[in-house]
C-alpha cells in the first residue's frame, strides 16, 4: 500500500482506477482519460495533486539557500510571485523541476513527488551554517488543481481574495472558509487555472465545494496527455540527472548571469556544446503511439529516443517528445519511429503542440 492523500477515500469510493505513483496510490482515471482530458480543455477539471512536495523556507538566509540551488532568479521575485526553474547537480544535470514562491516573510517551493526526499536532502546538504528553517509541509496539506477555461469563473467568491484578479504566475495567501489557504494561478495542463493549498482538515470540504461548482474529477492519465499536448516536461521522462536544462529547451528558466548557483559552471560549458541531443516535438503519421524508449531512426541509424508519447485527444494525432541529434531538430525534419519493431514515419514540429486560445 502506498501513501494516501487526504482525498484518497473519496477517489476509492468513486471507483477511480488507482495506481502507484512515486509511492502514492493515486487516481489515474475516474471515467476515461479522453473524456477527462476534454473536460479540462472545454470546461474545468479537478486534480488531487497532494502528492507533490510542498516545502517552506523561513529565516534571514532563506533566499540565499534557494538562490544557490535554483537555476532561475529568485532574488528578483516580487512578493507573491511564482517562478519555474530547475535544481541541478554540479554537472548541470537536472535533479528536479520546481516552482518557487516568494512570500513577504519567506519562500516556498513545490517539487515533484518522486523527488521530494532527494530535494529535501539536497537542501539540508547545502544549508551549511545558514540561518534558514526548511519545513516539509506535504503531509500536513492538500493541494488541488482546477484547470480549464471555466476554472476562474467557477472559483469566484471561494476565498477572501478576488481570484479572478490574480495575475498569471502569482499566488495569494488568503482564507478559505476561515482558514489559511494559498492559491496560485499556475498549472500543468496548458489551460488557465488555479492551484489551491489548504490544510488536510479542509481537503474534503474544498474538493466537494469545487465539485458542487461544476468541476469534474480528473486523474493522472489525463494530466499526462494534457501536459504532453502543452509540451511540458515530466521528470523521469524529458528531465533527469543526465539531461541539462539547455538541451531540454528550458534555457529561459536558467539565468546564468544571476550569480553563482550549483551547476552554473557546467551549464556555461554546455552552452557551447553543439553536439548534444535536443528536445523536440514529433507528429507521427499514423495512430500508433511512439512511447518512452522508442528509437528514432534515419536511414537505419538511431538518431534519437522518445521520452513521452500519446495519442492527442485534442489534435487527434499521435504525438511524442524526444531527444534527437542536432542535425534533425529543425521543424519538418523527417525520421522513423521504431514502434515494437515496425517503423512509423514522423516529422519534427514546433512546440508546444497545443496552445490555449487567447481570450
Amino acid at each position: 500500500m502506498g501513501m494516501h492523500t487526504p482525498l484518497f477515500d473519496w477517489h476509492a469510493a468513486r471507483g477511480a482506477r488507482l495506481v502507484d505513483f512515486a509511492g502514492w496510490d493515486m487516481p489515474v482515471q475516474y471515467t476515461s482519460i479522453v473524456e477527462e482530458h476534454a473536460t479540462v480543455r472545454k470546461e474545468a477539471g479537478l486534480f488531487d495533486i497532494s502528492h507533490m512536495g510542498r516545502l517552506s523556507f523561513g529565516g534571514p538566509d532563506a533566499l540565499a539557500l534557494v538562490e544557490q540551488v535554483f537555476t532561475n532568479n529568485a532574488a528578483t521575485l516580487k512578493d507573491f510571485q511564482v517562478r519555474y526553474g530547475l535544481i541541478c547537480n554540479d554537472h548541470g544535470g537536472i535533479r528536479d523541476d520546481v516552482l518557487v514562491y516568494r512570500w513577504p516573510y519567506g519562500y516556498a517551493m513545490v517539487v515533484n513527488a518522486s523527488n521530494r526526499a532527494k530535494i529535501v536532502g539536497w537542501l539540508e546538504e547545502h544549508k551549511g551554517s545558514r540561518n534558514v528553517q526548511i519545513v516539509d509541509q506535504t503531509t500536513m496539506t492538500c493541494m488541488v488543481a482546477v484547470q480549464g477555461p471555466k476554472a476562474l469563473a467557477m472559483c469566484r467568491g471561494m476565498t477572501a481574495v478576488d481570484l479572478e484578479k490574480l495575475p498569471y504566475y502569482f499566488a495569494a495567501a488568503t482564507q478559505y472558509h476561515g482558514k489559511n489557504c494559498v492559491v496560485s494561478r499556475t498549472g500543468y495542463t496548458g489551460e488557465d487555472g488555479l492551484e489551491f493549498m489548504v490544510g488536510t482538515a479542509q481537503a474534503v470540504e474544498l474538493w466537494e465545494d469545487l465539485l458542487g461548482r461544476g468541476g469534474k474529477p480528473c486523474g493522472l492519465g489525463a494530466r499526462d496527455t494534457l501536459r504532453l499536448e502543452a509540451a511540458m516536461p515530466l521528470y523521469g521522462h524529458e528531465l533527469n540527472e543526465d539531461i541539462d536544462p539547455l538541451q531540454a529547451g528550458l534555457s529561459w528558466a536558467v539565468k546564468l548571469d544571476k550569480g553563482e548557483f550549483i551547476g552554473r559552471a557546467a551549464l556555461l560549458r554546455l552552452k557551447e556544446d553543439k553536439l548534444r541531443r535536443q528536445r523536440v516535438g514529433l507528429e507521427l503519421a499514423g495512430k500508433r503511439i511512439g512511447r518512452e524508449g522508442a528509437g528514432l531512426l534515419h536511414e537505419g541509424r538511431e538518431i534519437g529516443k522518445v521520452t513521452s508519447g500519446t495519442f492527442s485527444p485534442t489534435l487527434s494525432t499521435s504525438l511524442a517528445m524526444a531527444y534527437i541529434d542536432p542535425a534533425f531538430t529543425a521543424p519538418g525534419s523527417a525520421c522513423q519511429v521504431d514502434i515494437r519493431g515496425k517503423t512509423e514515419p514522423a516529422r519534427v514540429v514546433q512546440l508546444p503542440f497545443y496552445r490555449r486560445p487567447k481570450t
Binding site: 489515474v28 482515471q29 471515467t31 476515461s32 482519460i33 479522453v34 492519465g221 496527455t225 499514423g286 495512430k287 500508433r288 503511439i289 512511447r291 500519446t310 495519442f311 485527444p313 499521435s318 515494437r340
Partner: protein, 128 residues
C-alpha cells in the same frame, strides 16, 4: 452475440463458432480495462493464426495489449470499420465490435475455451 453462448480465452477474447467460421472479439471486461482505444492492429485476410499466439494489438492511451487467437485457422474477414473507428470496440464488444473471423479446420470445437461461468470466475478472482 449473447455472451452466454460464447466461449472465452483467459486472455479475454471471446469466440463464437458457426460452421467452420469462428468470430472473435474481446470481452466487455477487457474493454473496460482498456478504455480510450486509439488504434487496433488486425491481421490480414489470408494470414494463418495459431491458437494462443498474438495476432494483433489494441492500443489505448495508456498501453498496448496483444490480442491472442483462440483457435488455429485462416483469417477470412477483419472488421475494417475498427481501423477508422477503434472506439467501435467499446460500443458493442460482443456485436459490431467483433475483430476477426477465422476459418477453422472442419470438426474443430471451442471445447478448450472457458464457458461464461468459468470466465466470470476468472475475472472475479483477478480482483476487479
Amino acid at each position: 452475440m449473447d455472451p452466454k453462448t460464447l466461449r472465452y480465452a483467459p486472455t479475454h477474447e471471446w469466440a463464437h463458432l458457426e460452421g467452420d467460421i469462428c468470430t472473435v472479439g474481446i470481452t466487455k471486461f477487457a474493454v473496460d480495462q482498456l478504455t480510450d482505444v486509439v488504434y487496433v492492429e488486425l491481421p490480414e485476410i489470408g494470414d494463418h493464426v495459431f491458437s494462443g499466439e498474438s495476432f494483433g494489438e489494441i492500443e489505448s492511451v495508456k498501453a498496448v495489449s496483444d490480442i491472442y487467437a483462440p483457435v488455429n485457422g485462416e483469417v477470412s474477414a477483419i472488421n475494417e470499420k475498427l481501423m477508422d473507428e477503434p472506439t467501435g470496440i467499446a460500443d458493442d464488444p460482443y456485436g459490431t465490435g467483433w475483430l476477426v473471423k477465422i476459418k477453422v479446420e472442419p470438426g474443430s470445437t471451442l471445447d478448450h475455451l472457458m464457458t461464461l461461468e468459468k470466465y466470470e470466475k476468472q475475472i472475479a478472482s483477478e480482483g476487479h
